[in-house]
């Protein structure tokens, strides 16, 4: 499903992350336990991948939509941003160190958080698992 470049254990970085974004909602929503854990969450947040921001809308724990940010007024409660290759590594089935967890990325200076962090912190494991949901696809590839 996703192309792994053998020998270097890296995604095809020109297309890989965009493909993951297309499937983020499907993968996350397929996890009933994840959706259950997030059943009280209703918000939008920004997911920054390289130079592109996506608006991820959560309704009752399900991803209702993932869409590129079009207007400056399109925004969310908080944002999580990292470079394209960092996310590409993050979504590997066995990610390398410093890229295996959102807060490990933050600790290593590879990701930034902005905005109102309270809903993120109140549901931290949910959001970590939501963002990591595409890894299941990497395992299947």
């Amino acid at each position: 499903m996703y192309e792994l470049v053998r020998g270097t254990s890296r995604w095809n970085k020109t297309e890989g992350t965009a493909t993951v974004i297309e499937q983020l909602a499907e993968r996350a929503n397929a996890d009933d336990w994840l959706v259950h854990r997030g059943r009280r969450i209703n918000l939008k947040f920004l997911l920054g991948i390289g130079g592109t921001d996506y608006i991820v809308a959560i309704r009752d724990g399900r991803i209702a939509s993932v869409s590129p940010r079009k207007l400056p007024t399109d925004t969310g409660a908080f944002s999580i941003r990292a470079a394209n290759d960092v996310w590409a590594d993050f979504w590997l089935a066995e990610p390398p160190r410093d890229r295996h967890d959102v807060f490990s990325m933050v600790a290593a200076g590879l990701a930034t958080l902005d905005g109102e962090l309270l809903p993120l912190m109140q549901n931290l494991q949910y959001f970590k698992d939501l963002l990591a949901a595409p890894r299941a696809a990497a395992v299947e590839a």
Binding site: E94, P95, R97, D98, H100, D101, V102, F103, S104, V106, A107, A108, L117, L118, M121, Q122, L124, Q125, K128
Partner: protein, 283 residues
């Protein structure tokens, strides 16, 4: 017929900072005393695999206790009227009080994370009291990467957020069973305890300006860190080893911040040769 594990758990009372504290300790084995210090915000259950490993307990008397305020140890009487905060001095006094109460003669002391930091302080300040120290995920200089106020506030579940933060400190290769057992300990911590421990771990415990004074000829120092540790990184471990002349450092591949509890089988492959070396050479 039930098959009990070889661990014996008991309670006793010792005095720390002028206060009585009721402490829970588990032990197994006989021989050289090996005192095990758990990570911030957790308890001695992290060492259950060592306590049940015949290869370890054949030559070592393994003792793992819950720090006051942690696990099955009580906080001091009157805890409800104050915040918990661990300092370098309080931590040292606690470990010394435990070793004195147990009447341990020249024990090996091994700690993980904040435990890995305090053993370095012990090697510096009391080199003749310990046969050797083993710092798991321990460094002399660390940098915080989040505000610990998030860990103790009424609008966030303290156990959930503690476990969620440290979940990134478990290596992706670690077995799910042990990953989630390790996280469960964090979900069970008392309110504000992880935060109070991190005061020592991230703020009060820095001593990279003095770690070079550790005399490893009097107290051998072993540093063992997991590749996936985001706080005590391989780089910080190596920097610490560079300052402590004569120390022996090892970075363990495919392991995170909780080697003994997140991947016990892989950890013992790194750990057993160290124990053997200490036993045969005195460190």
């Amino acid at each position: 017929m039930v098959e009990f594990e070889p661990i014996t758990g008991r309670y006793f009372t010792m005095q720390v900072a002028g206060e009585d504290v009721r402490v829970y300790v588990e032990e197994a084995g006989s021989g050289i005393p090996l005192v095990c210090l758990h990570t911030a915000g957790a308890d001695s259950r992290q060492f259950r695999h060592l306590l049940c490993d015949p290869a370890v307990t054949e030559h070592y008397r393994v003792l793992a206790f819950d720090m006051p305020w942690h696990g099955k140890s009580n906080p001091p009487v009157g805890y409800q009227n104050r915040d918990y905060q661990l300092t370098t001095g309080l931590y040292r006094e606690t470990v010394n009080a435990f070793c004195a109460a147990m009447e341990l003669d020249n024990p090996v002391v091994m700690g993980c994370s904040m435990g890995g930091r305090i053993v370095l302080h012990l090697a510096l300040e009391q080199p003749d009291d310990f046969r050797a120290v083993i710092a798991l995920e321990g460094a002399d200089r660390l940098e915080p990467y989040y505000d610990t106020d998030w860990l103790n506030r009424p609008d966030i579940h303290g156990g959930e957020i503690a476990a969620a933060f440290v979940s990134g400190q478990v290596a992706p290769q670690s077995p799910d069973e042990f990953r989630h057992e390790t996280l469960w300990h964090y979900k069970q911590g008392g309110p504000g305890i992880f935060k109070g421990d991190l005061y020592f771990y991230w703020t009060d415990g820095h001593f990279d300006d003095r770690s070079a004074q550790i005399d490893t000829s009097r107290c051998p120092v072993y540093l063992m860190s997991g590749e996936y540790d985001s706080s005590c990184t391989p780089e910080r471990t190596e920097a610490t080893a560079g300052r402590i002349k004569g120390s022996k450092a090892k970075v363990m591949a495919d392991i995170g911040h909780f080697p003994m509890s997140e991947n016990p089988e892989l950890f013992r492959r790194h750990f057993m040769p160290v124990l053997e070396e200490i036993r045969k050479t005195g460190g």
